[in-house]
Symmetry: C2
Subunit: 219 residues, 2 copies
């Protein structure tokens, strides 16, 4: 798997870069995507992966199977996604896109920043719960990876946006970012507990309310 690791070495931003969640442009590593069929290939792969993961979790999402379902060779799959993790990250990216557009369609309406944040988180929770296996797979893998445009960061930004109305990442203070980020990581943690059967939906909501009320008290 080889993740940069260690306090010492900074992320090597070399020509090859690490995994990325980016959605529109070229495939993970494919240098110059001659677009068209390549984008489609990529999409087919991600779809196949999501489909497999959505029933059976990560373990069901085997690289060979994904490749087969997507109608590409294993080698090709690995050209697009250098590791299983990268694939997972891509799948997650789509999920977040979904959440973001959902929020754009129907923005949270609670009166407090904390309320809006919890609203968004719970909405995301419900979305993920529709496919517990997938959710579990994604969350776990994400925590392990979180390279480049990580899950938590995207959620944090989203939270920031809905918490302080009109607040953007650029306008927020360092500390506000920290707080939003922390809320996101608490959420991820709670979600994992839920998937493990240690929390109910209602418990998560309650816990998030408590934590959010404090973290975002003055947003």
């Amino acid at each position: 798997m080889r993740i940069p690791h260690a306090v010492i070495e900074a992320a090597t931003p070399g020509p090859e870069g690490a995994a990325s969640v980016e959605n529109q442009p070229t495939a993970a590593t494919a240098p110059g995507a001659r677009t068209r069929s390549q984008l489609q290939r990529r999409k087919r792969i991600v779809q196949a992966a999501a489909a497999l993961a959505s029933r059976g979790g990560v373990e069901a999402m085997q690289m060979r199977t994904v490749a087969e379902r997507a109608g590409v060779a294993l080698g090709t799959l690995y050209r697009y996604f250098p590791s299983k993790m990268d694939l997972v990250v891509a799948v997650v990216g789509e999920e977040i896109d979904l959440l973001e557009s959902s929020i754009q369609r129907r923005p949270p309406s609670a009166p407090t920043a904390s309320g809006r944040a919890v609203d968004v988180l719970m909405r995301a929770t419900r979305g993920l719960m529709r496919e517990p296996e997938l959710a579990d797979a994604l969350l776990r893998s994400l925590i392990m990876t979180e390279v480049e445009t990580p899950f938590g960061d995207r959620m944090a930004k989203l939270l920031l946006r809905v918490a302080g109305e009109g607040l953007t990442v650029e306008l927020a203070t360092e500390d506000q970012l920290t707080l939003a980020n922390s809320l996101a990581s608490v959420w991820v943690h709670e979600l994992l507990e839920m998937l493990r059967g240690l929390r109910t939906y209602d418990q998560i909501q309650h816990r998030l309310e408590i934590v959010s009320a404090r973290l975002l008290m003055d947003f």
Copy 2:
């Protein structure tokens, strides 16, 4: 790896139970440990595992190698620790024990609950940082597992204890537990970011101070 998964099924508390972090008693699964040499074997295994992981991370801690270094057969290793994860959990258990005794020796002295909590967290951070590879391995694996006496929970309890002086898990309110727990998960998250090179020690401290101040404001 087979982790219970899914919102539906509750953890099966059957006769075989899941992985456990417990330190003194019998080996992970070995039914009736005839103690003596068995405890020693177990210790040798955990030590070998820790040694390997401490330089090279999880990947260096290969089951075959651990078995060899510990002087036991692969099969035996698997009898004691049904999966690599279980081994990791055991190694972590030792680390936490260390932290706990360190805290007993020299309790945090900050005047505020939040201050004491941060103190403990940073002390744990320094401890883990001594062996970044090990820390990374442990944290990642733990997040993935956290079965039975999880890392986060132990930290949460510890935090609770130092935050409210003399406060114990039994005396704490649900919400206080939630908050301590959340602080622990934020810490874990920050630690992972640090290991990934995205945070410096000072940043972590600052961020924890901010978050802790809010989460534990009235402890």
